[in-house]
Amino acid sequence: MNNIIVMPMMLPVLVGIILLFLRPYVKTQRTISLLVFLGNIGISVYVLQLIQQNGVMRLDFGGWQPPFGILFVADSFAMLLVLSSSVVAAACLIYSFSSVKPSFEKNFFYSFVLFLIAGVNGSFLTGDIFNLFVCFEIMLLSSYVLIAFGGKKRQLRESIKYVIINVVSSWIFLVAIAYLYGVVGTLNMAHISERIAEVGQTPMVTVISVVFLTVFALKAGLFLYFWLPGSYSVPITPIAALFGALLTKVGIYAMFRVFTLLFYQEQQITHTLIGILAALTLIGGSIGAVAYKDIRLVASYNVIIAVGFILVGLAVATPSAIEGSIYYLIHDIIIKALLFLLVGTMIAVTGQTRIDEISGLIKNHPLLGWLFFLTTLSLSGIPPLSGFIGKVLIGEGTVAAGSYVLLALAFISSIFVLYSLMRIFLTSFWGETIISKDEEVPAKKGWIVSTCILALGTIALGLGAEPMSVYVQDAAETLLNPQIYIDAVLGGN
């Protein structure tokens, strides 16, 4: 009986529903939603400890034994991601207290944020591939609503694209699940893995795995990222931060889960394909990051570079590379939220979106400037910040696997990240102060508090890499040895 592991998903759902009744009471809504995320942080830390003691945990819904019922499985990988998503959600929520219009707050804004996080956490925790689809849909349906909050022309145009792309990719997802069910006759991920292992990964299964790869590549922005920069640059700031931090990461998580647990036998086909896509993503993302002058687009292209970088780790699939990917995934969730919040704050303060229209911000907003500088350093992987350890481990892994092309591309892309953000820092924060203090919108306390929380998060993650390594190593071990996961799910019946 591990009812606690369903809480990161169901607590936000339940509270999101209760908030529907509390529509006029904005203050109550704010307090309750923040409490939920703080509660989730506590729960995920507690569950992480339990996993270290008792191994991978599972919860059979309604007492139906696997492989017949659906279930949630909590391993270290999933719980680390739940923990970081809860931290980011709490920070973005604090930011939204002082930036979201009251009219939005009264139109179920917090409910939908809670449902979004419920979908994200559910995707991390589920042990059933159809349930994964359902959790994806919960997340996407909320994101359709949240992306359009504001109702500007540009937002509506981009959200229509976003909805169409995601509906089509969800349909392909459903088709892929149907194919897989047709071949192996089960939906429980551990059971699928066992059955594929029994008969070997036949060409048919490999083809199905490529269909899954297509779906998750669309969701994660791996090579098929054409929709991403437009969609992620239109929502209001806290939502853009949540999207940039979490939504692509769910696709990446699904890819890690599926290609380490289910389709791990034909690595020369599937993982080579992932490697090629990751390389193309790194190249495309790097070009995009330096090509645009709209700071929201630069931030969005940085998301794409990170996707490529993390999947380099999956493509080479050595123990240290997987470990590095996990570190980098957690780091990227926190730092992308911070980047999007800072970019949003810059735009809110000045009213401009292009780097050549913003100049000399550091005179009136020193803290904002130095936070941005910290983010730049962390994203490009300067020790002791959090990006460093992930990059080193992924680098180590690619060297061990002999994939020097991926190694070179991964590290050249870091230089592009550094360049694209330093360009913003140099032109927008330094230089002549063109907007006087009276003309600017003053930065609100909530903005500073939430960005400082995330900045502390990236420093803590960098300095705390050593104590974190227990959990990360356990997560990597479970990913590399599918048998641990299978035993936890199907054993003991």
Binding site: M1, N3, L14, F21, F61
Partner: protein
């Protein structure tokens, strides 16, 4: 434009109850055979939509002053609540229970917590369908 629709109105009043009966039947049939909260809810919603079409929206809202958004929210709360209810009894999340009771006049009947869950689903369907249709009709 006011059209004379006495026949339509008279028939609708009658048919409304037939549809409601069908909805209740479908709802309870769903426990062991095709039907259930979703289809029952849809039929129930269609009965309400019939009223909205035959009479006008203002009249119905005067007679039935319910915010259908809250109906949907209450239904969702009920469904999710049964999942959490299992936790109170120390069972797995979403565990359902059932038992047989002897009730005078009806004889032995089966009472289950699934019915509460299904009731929630039906309310969500009614609330969402009516809300969507009313929102569309507002746009003229």
């Amino acid at each position: 434009m006011k059209i004379n629709n006495v026949i339509l109105r008279t028939v609708a009043k009658l048919v409304f109850f037939i549809i409601l009966t069908l909805a209740v039947y479908l709802f309870f049939a769903g426990h062991n055979s095709p039907g259930g909260g979703f289809s029952g809810g849809l039929v129930l919603a269609s009965a309400l939509v019939l009223l909205f079409i035959v009479f006008d929206i203002e009249t119905i809202q005067k007679g039935l002053p319910i915010d259908f958004k809250l109906v949907a929210a209450f239904g969702a709360f009920l469904s999710v609540g049964t999942g959490f209810g299992a936790l109170i009894f120390g069972d797995n999340f979403l565990t359902q229970a059932f038992d047989y009771f002897n009730v005078p006049f009806f004889g032995e009947i089966e009472l289950t917590t699934v019915t509460i869950f299904e009731g929630g689903v039906a309310l969500v369907v009614v609330g969402v369908v009516v809300t969507i249709l009313l929102s569309i009709s507002e746009d003229e």
